[in-house]
Amino acid sequence: MIEIDNVHKSFGELEVIKGVSLQVKKGEVVSIIGGSGSGKSTLLMCINGLESIKSGSIRVDGTEVHARGTDINKLRQKIGIVFQQWNAFPHLTVLENVMLAPRTVLGKSKAEAEALAVKQLTHVGLGDKLKVFPGKLSGGQQQRMAIARALAMSPDYMLFDEATSALDPQLVGEVLDTMRMLAEDGMTMILVTHEIRFARDVSDRVAFFRNGLVHEIGTPDQVIGNPQRPETADFLRSIN
């Protein structure tokens, strides 16, 4: 379970998160929507400790993410994250990209890591690209590789930071399909997304962020289908 409790976060003078609280239960899929600068991507970075927080607390399975004694590298093993820029390691093949963390972090043997990587890459439909370098792949394929790379660590949680925003329109579908597959497998997921229809389809709950706060939260049918607050309705209208 991820418990976010009254989190504040600033970059210098600029306060981007102004007291966000949110709980995500095991097996739940929560989508975060909202305009740019609303603090939604930053919140994801705070959840796995890539960004610090000013005050409040974030607990993952009871472990305080930003506490001094927390072994953050250990904690990150159970939180996979997929970025907007897919961040393939260009000097490694697709297979090596996925094998890297299981080998380095979990200390698996080469054979074990390879079997694991092949399984995950096949799962996302890249079974025939194992020996290829990422530079030769399309954006959609690189993003699916990034998903496989995160999954190879057998995470309990997956965070998606606008995973399809940097993709050409015709490549968005294949990545969304992969994410949908994960959701159906019961993965606990937090999605920051602009794909409203997708969010409505796969999410258990949707949160609308505005000015660094959770402005409205509820089931997809409530928040997207019948928004209670005028700003939410305005936002949904503005992106359609």
Binding site: N48, G80, N87, F89, A101, V105, M153
Partner: protein, 216 residues
């Protein structure tokens, strides 16, 4: 019309000089690269606290190498160090290479996008694992052409050690020129040897680069 008093012995003498040039280049490149990697990583990763280091290394980059040789040689006598001229040459050239290599490594490390490092850290890699597995291999590819340039430059800069009494390729050639009075021929031979040595380095470097580029 092509009669010459250049003998087989003269060629051997020049080749011995070339060997000294190679030794000086290799030793100073090893010293300078090891130190340069350490200093360059420190400069890139801890830019604030290593500013004094940058000032120090700037001295070695800015003062002509000839002056450094002569000054260090004089310093050696004043302090009373019983070092050979070759050791002095290696230290001075080593520092010179360190200064340049530091900048080459620094720019290589800084070329690795921060987002890639975040991605590797998000997978659970520690700071050092990220440096070793992601930053260093990627920085190496960026820094390599600059490093080869440095190597080729240093090979020619070693000629300045003649001023502290070491006989290397250029000095050996000059000795023979003085004796047989055929500067064109002898300098062509010396130049050809420099050229061949450089060519080998450049070709090996290019081959490695192509292999890396095939992946992109």
């Amino acid at each position: 019309m092509f009669e010459s008093t250049f003998t087989w012995n003269d060629l051997q003498f020049i080749l011995q000089g070339a060997w000294v040039t190679i030794l000086l280049t290799v030793v100073s490149m090893i010293i300078g690269t090891l130190a340069g990697v350490v200093c360059g990583m420190a400069r890139a990763l801890l830019p604030r606290s290593t500013i004094p280091l940058a000032w120090l290394l700037d001295v070695f980059r800015s003062v002509p190498l000839l002056i450094q040789f002569v000054l260090f040689n004089a310093l050696k006598s004043i302090v009373g160090l019983n070092w050979s001229a070759f050791a002095v040459a290696c230290v001075v050239l080593g520092l010179y290479v360190t200064a340049y290599c530091t900048e080459i490594v620094r720019s290589g490390v800084l070329s690795v996008p921060l987002t890639l490092r975040r991605a590797s850290r998000s997978l659970g890699l520690t700071y050092w694992q990220d440096l070793r597995q992601i930053v260093m291999p990627m920085a190496t590819r960026v820094a390599f052409p600059g490093w080869i340039n440095l190597l080729l430059g240093v090979m020619k800069d070693t000629a300045l050690v003649m001023w502290i009494g070491i006989v290397e390729l250029l000095r050996a050639s000059q000795t023979i020129v003085t004796r047989i009075q055929e500067p064109l021929l002898v300098l062509c031979i010396a130049g050809l040897i420099y050229y061949v040595m450089s060519l080998v380095v450049a070709r090996l470097g290019a081959r490695l680069e192509t292999r890396w580029q095939e992946n992109d």
